[in-house]
């Protein structure tokens, strides 16, 4: 027997809605839905997820080795180390931001915990982006750089990026319910981010005074760590990992806090 008991104030009442169900089963089904819907109507299916970063990598490789020459070895792999975490981040951010509005029908009809919808959207997106991670690792092997023991770090790094983007998406999906322009802000921000993350330039080109700040950008930190591990075969510096862990955890906590403050009035605005 469960009881839904509301205190006298509606803001607090929003936090009290009870849903007694199987959280993991629901998240799995929601993520599977996004995944299936994405691929069911594509004749080439997963191939598109691989093609997009390959085209991007090809263009950047052509421009920065044939038009502007540079001395960075394995430039194609170097660029892909930037594109894959960048893609994972931006596609999750974009689809996550509109997730509540896209699923307004669910929110208005089923008392599921609202957090589940942006979280499941991010996870579903990550499942589909994992093909690109496989592509990256395959290219590294094909380029003649072998597996080294630091590859274990990858198991911790990708989840940290997912934690970070989940926190961010909790904030932006909630804001997008109240102000529908938010998604366009995010679209512009991803363009800016492409240049703020060291995708086509190495970290060493960045002036020293920006180094510290750069490492607090989890996507930049992710790219740097990937290059350390995959291209240079060295462990990423501890300071980098600490900053990455710190900013991801903080972002998730802030995201949950903001989301809980905003969710009480979702129903009225959807």
């Amino acid at each position: 027997m469960s009881a839904i008991e509301y205190p006298l104030h509606s803001v607090a009442a929003g936090a009290q809605q009870k849903w007694s169900g199987d959280y993991l089963f629901l998240i799995r089904n929601l993520a599977l839905k996004d995944f299936r819907v994405r691929y069911r109507n594509m004749s080439l299916g997963m191939f598109w997820s691989v093609l997009n970063p390959l085209v991007m990598m090809g263009v950047l490789w052509f421009v920065f080795t044939k038009i502007f020459s540079n001395a960075i070895p394995h430039f194609a792999a170097f660029v892909l180390c930037g594109i894959v975490p960048y893609n994972l981040f931006t596609t999750s951010w974009l689809t996550g931001t509109t997730s509540l509005v896209d699923n307004a029908g669910l929110i208005k009809r089923v008392p599921v915990p609202r957090e589940i919808i942006p979280i499941a959207t991010v996870l579903g997106n990550c499942a589909h982006m994992s093909v690109q991670v496989v592509l990256l690792l395959a290219l590294i092997l094909v380029s003649g750089m072998g597996v080294n023991r630091y590859w274990w770090w990858l198991i911790a790094l990708w989840p940290l990026e997912i934690v970070f983007v989940t926190g961010l998406v909790l904030i932006f999906s909630a804001l997008n319910v109240y102000i529908r322009d938010i998604r366009y802000v995010v679209e512009s921000a991803t363009v800016v981010l492409f240049w703020l993350v060291p995708i086509i330039y190495p970290f060493s080109y960045i002036p020293d005074r920006y180094h510290e700040i750069y490492q607090f950008n989890p996507i930049a930190a992710m790219v740097l760590a990937l290059r350390n591990i995959l291209l240079e075969g060295v462990a990423p510096p501890a300071s980098l990992l600490i900053k990455l862990t710190f900013s991801s955890t903080v972002m998730l906590l802030v995201g949950l806090f903001v989301f809980r403050r905003l969710r009480a009035k979702f129903y009225n605005y959807l």
Binding site: S10, D22, L26, R36, L106, V110, I179, N268
Partner: protein, 261 residues
């Protein structure tokens, strides 16, 4: 067991903004710029109090905009009240806008899984009732087809089948008995009567149709957010119908007047 009410409303108020769909940045800036102009609100429910005992069946009648759907949303836990208190002591299955969680590109079976998970069913329990759901919906031959190939009636049958297999304590019904063909409607109605016999609590919203009169023993009459009447179905039903009469009488008399001269 002591008979605590299964649903209890105590002085419940609920109002909504009239933001008239203006959700773009410009509207927000304009509102800030217009220096604290009070936001227009309307009260969907005004100081509503009632209680329902376990096993009761209650109909909510009233015109459009009377607050019937808001009342169901509060019981389903979709919105919190502004003031007052709503207590619900049991598992609620809401047959509100059936199939709102369905996706046309997923197969029937995939939609059943998703919808059941949304309604709170676990993996094991779904595994046990999945065959029953498909059988009840009479869709065994189509369950692996994408939902967009289904007719509206087939979709509704599937949604209804999932909802009634949730094993709820409280069933909320929002004028959804118009599901499928006559045979299936009869089956749905029989299923709901079954729920009543098992001592489940039923709450349905309607414009006082015959089916509801047959199903419910008690009724609430809502009008513009006020609770006008709370009593036996027959009593409230006839009061509500006679309230509606004048409007009907007027339209019915017009042609006869023209024949008189």
């Amino acid at each position: 067991m002591t008979s605590r009410p299964i649903i209890e409303f105590r002085d419940v108020w609920k109002s909504f903004h009239r933001h008239s769909g203006q959700l773009l940045l410009r509207a927000h800036v304009q509102r800030l710029a217009s220096w604290r102009k009070p936001v227009e609100r309307f009260d969907a429910l005004k100081k509503i109090s009632f209680r329902m005992e376990r096993g009761e069946s209650l109909a909510v009648v009233g015109a459009n905009g009377a607050g019937k759907s808001t009342l169901l949303s509060l019981i389903a836990g979709l919105v919190p009240p502004d003031r007052g208190r709503v207590d619900v002591r049991g598992r609620v299955a809401a047959l509100l806008e059936l199939g709102s969680g369905f996706h046309p590109d997923l197969t029937g079976a995939e939609n059943v899984h998703l919808n059941a998970a949304l309604l709170g069913l676990g993996r094991k329990r779904l595994h046990d009732v999945f065959a029953d759901i498909v059988e009840f919906a009479e869709l065994a031959d189509f369950i692996e087809e994408p939902l967009r190939t289904y007719s509206t009636g087939m979709t509704m049958r599937l949604a209804f089948a999932v909802a009634v297999h949730m094993d709820p304590d409280i069933l909320l019904i929002d004028e959804v008995l118009a599901v499928g063909d006559h045979a299936f409607q009869a089956k749905c109605f029989a299923k709901i009567l079954d729920f009543r016999r098992c001592g489940k609590t039923i709450l349905c919203v309607s414009h006082a149709s015959g089916m509801v009169q047959q199903l419910c023993s008690r009724a609430l009459w809502l009008d513009h957010g006020d609770l006008l009447l709370d009593g036996a179905m027959a009593e409230v039903g006839s009061a509500y119908e006679s309230h509606l009469k004048p409007a009907h009488a007027y339209t019915a008399e017009t042609p006869r007047d023209s024949q008189d001269p």
